[in-house]
């Protein structure tokens, strides 16, 4: 070997070639992924057995089922000895599971609100949708409230007017400094809501009566209720969680202490106790005679609960950012809020997406806990359906239906978060 000349000079450069085509056939692929050693072969066989067993034991129940019946006993009669599900109960009562005791002739209102919600969410979730639609997203909460609870349109309108009053006073008092301005704006908005909004609503209502038949909170139930609580909780817990996470990392001792106490207190208490507080205790603290809607109270509690978790998730994202990002933003002259908004938060939120969506899903499923304080969520309705003479004794079918609906929403959120993570990836080469 020694006498060979080690020098080498390439005469011509090699052109780029196509990568080799995947030469593995289906059989080879199966073998590689399922049977490549004895352990994986055993696991594959066991999984197959379990799968077959599950399918065999559930398929008669799922497929030999009854869709047309008026009661469980009728179902049983039609089934005879065969095991089968009695889906007739869903057919009979699905509107109740979706809407609770909402007046049937008004079903179009929540349905319309749901469709508008999808429209309002689209510019937030999907950037190709024109940004101008964000105006509609801002108006949507008031509109949805009006559609679902009815009453006069002027109530949400004057509520929005309070925000406008706040914004205008902020503009006018800007010269007094940001802190004073914000305080005055807040006071201005509160004054409007407490003193002006009611007479203005009445007056406008007389001038131009635009109202829908009112529906009380006792009638709002089913998935409608879960979605109202879940969506409101989700949309408030994210911004509040951001503020709280920043508060916890703040250098101001008072802000920091308040944030820590809030987070630790709320996280340290089961949600159900907060809900009981909402339903019972708040009545003691509120001035007598105030009629504070139970659903609103529950929404507040659920939101606070989710906010504490959200704050911790986002704090994790903030802690994961290298110091250099803060320093670069500062060195460019960005002030605290601009640096947070343009540099820090977009990255911290991106890191936290899995945790955030996890909290959202948790919150949405936790809405079923309101059954314990007497609100008519789907679980409560399943109980009341079971209490009727026709459907006494039916369990599985109702729970499968409710579970499936929750699954659709939660799975949707999960898929969206994966899509979002992929879309925001900027480190691919």
């Amino acid at each position: 070997m020694n006498e060979r000349n080690p020098a080498f000079v390439r005469g011509e450069m090699l052109p780029a070639r196509e990568p080799p085509a995947g030469e593995m056939g289906l059989l080879k692929l199966l073998r590689k992924s399922l049977f490549n050693n004895w352990l994986s072969s055993i696991l594959t066989v066991i999984s197959l057995i379990v799968l077959v067993w599950i399918v065999r034991s559930t398929s008669p129940w799922l497929f030999d089922s009854v869709w047309n019946a008026h009661s469980l006993s009728e179902c049983r009669q039609m089934l005879g000895v065969a095991e089968g599900a009695c889906w007739a109960v869903i057919r009979d009562r699905w509107t109740q599971l979706l809407f609770g005791f909402y007046p049937p002739e008004q079903y179009w209102r929540p349905v319309l609100a749901f469709a508008l919600m999808l429209l309002a969410l689209s510019p937030v979730l999907f950037p190709p949708v024109p940004r101008r639609l964000l105006w509609f997203s801002a108006v949507f909460p008031g509109l949805a409230y009006w559609l679902i609870w009815g009453g006069t349109l002027w109530l949400p309108v004057t509520a929005y007017a309070g925000i406008a009053v706040g914004a205008v006073s902020l503009r006018l008092t800007a010269r007094l400094g940001a802190g004073v301005g914000a305080g005055l704006a807040f006071i201005g908005a509160l004054t409007w809501w407490f003193f002006a909004s009611e007479p203005v609503t009445t007056m406008l209502g007389q001038l131009l009566p635009l109202s829908l038949a009112p529906v009380t909170s006792r009638e709002v139930g089913g998935f409608l209720l879960s979605i109202v609580i879940g969506v409101t909780g989700i949309s408030f817990s994210l911004p509040l969680g951001i503020v709280l996470a920043l508060g916890r990392r703040s250098k101001m001792p008072l802000v920091k202490t308040l944030s820590v106490v809030f987070i630790e207190f709320i996280r340290g208490v089961p949600l159900i106790t907060l809900l009981f507080t909402a339903s019972l205790l708040l009545n003691y603290f509120l001035p007598p005679g105030t009629n504070f809607d139970l659903i609103l109270r529950v929404i507040i509690m659920v939101t606070l609960f989710a906010t504490a978790y959200m704050a911790e998730v986002i704090r994790g994202g903030l802690a994961a950012l290298p110091r250099g990002q803060y320093e670069a933003a500062e060195a460019l002259g960005l002030d605290y809020w601009k640096a947070q908004r343009l540099v820090i938060m977009p990255q911290a939120l991106k890191i936290s997406i899995p945790g955030i969506v996890n909290s959202f899903i948790g919150l949405f499923k936790d809405t079923t806990l309101v059954v314990f304080i007497g609100l008519l969520d789907p679980i409560a309705l399943s109980n009341s359906i079971r209490a009727t003479t026709n459907w006494q004794g039916i369990y599985w079918e109702l729970f499968v239906f409710i579970g499936a609906l929750f699954f659709i929403f939660c799975f949707g959120m999960s898929r969206y978060s994966m899509h979002l993570e992929r879309r925001l990836r900027t480190d691919h080469r």
Binding site: P322, G324, L342, L424
Partner: protein, 263 residues
């Protein structure tokens, strides 16, 4: 002692030092907890000066230049930048920061923004100039650092040398009067060091006031009009590059130079 040298020809016609003071540091002291990191620093930098700061690790070089734009807070003495004294007044701090550009060892580009967005962010949000103008200016500076074609990529898709040149362009987009460099080439492979140094030399040729912490002594020799040697939080020696390299006065400087220039 062997004098370092740099291969690129340097056009000195516009490298003029004026009498105006850009930065004045008087009896500045800084502690990290109980650790006395900077001790009685006195330094006056005139407009157009190019100062290289060298010294062993932990001597306080980074701390000193980070005090100039208040990334670190000093506890005693005065720092006046462009006529504005640095105190706890946030307005002054923001004003100074928007006049002083800084380039970091690890680039610190914003990974969620494209190169162009990195460069236009501060002009749009701090200087409040129209987006269109900011983009034109950014493209101009990206051309200057010779990477206009990367404008729509993300930082993660660029090489280290390219990222550092983007970081320089990002600072320049704020039209700073003073530029601070904290070991801008220490995280780079040898073949990328030169492209970054060449960019910095271009800046020097245009008369930018520069404070550079660097171990690139060839660069110091070529463009600096003063070299400062620091050790244990103090300025130990300060001289023009020729005398600094050929005739160092203090024993510490000699030792440091012999270590860093031994090849």
């Amino acid at each position: 002692m062997m004098e370092p040298h740099y291969e690129t020809e340097i056009d000195r016609s516009r490298m003029r030092v004026s009498d105006e003071v850009a930065i004045r540091i008087e009896d500045m002291n800084k502690w990290y907890g109980n650790y006395h990191a900077l001790r009685d620093i006195n330094l006056t930098v005139r407009r157009g000066e190019r100062i290289v700061i060298a010294g062993p690790s932990g001597s306080g070089k980074s701390t000193m230049i980070r005090c100039v734009n208040r990334l670190e807070e000093h506890q005693a003495g005065r720092i006046v930048v462009d006529g504005i004294e640095l105190s706890s007044d946030l307005k002054n701090i923001d004003k100074v920061r928007s006049e002083v550009g800084m380039v970091f060892q690890h680039f610190n580009l914003f990974p969620h923004l494209t190169i162009l967005e990195n460069c236009t962010l501060a002009p749009i949000w701090v200087r409040e100039i129209p987006r269109k103008e900011a983009i034109d200016a950014a493209m101009h500076f990206l051309e200057k650092v010779k990477i206009p074609e990367q404008a729509h990529k993300y930082p993660g898709q660029l090489s280290g040398g390219q990222q550092q040149r983007v970081a320089i362009a990002r600072s320049l987009c704020m039209k700073p009067k003073i530029m601070l460099f904290d070991e801008p080439t220490s995280a780079l492979d040898p073949e990328m060091i030169k492209e970054v140094l060449d960019t910095m030399i271009d800046l020097a040729e245009e008369g930018m006031t520069m404070l550079c912490v660097t171990h690139e002594m060839g660069f110091a020799q070529a463009v600096a009009n003063r070299v400062i040697f620091m050790d244990q939080g103090q300025i130990v020696e300060e001289n023009n590059p020729h005398d600094f390299f050929n005739n160092p006065q203090s024993e510490r400087t000699r030792l440091f130079l012999s270590q860093i220039l031994r090849h």
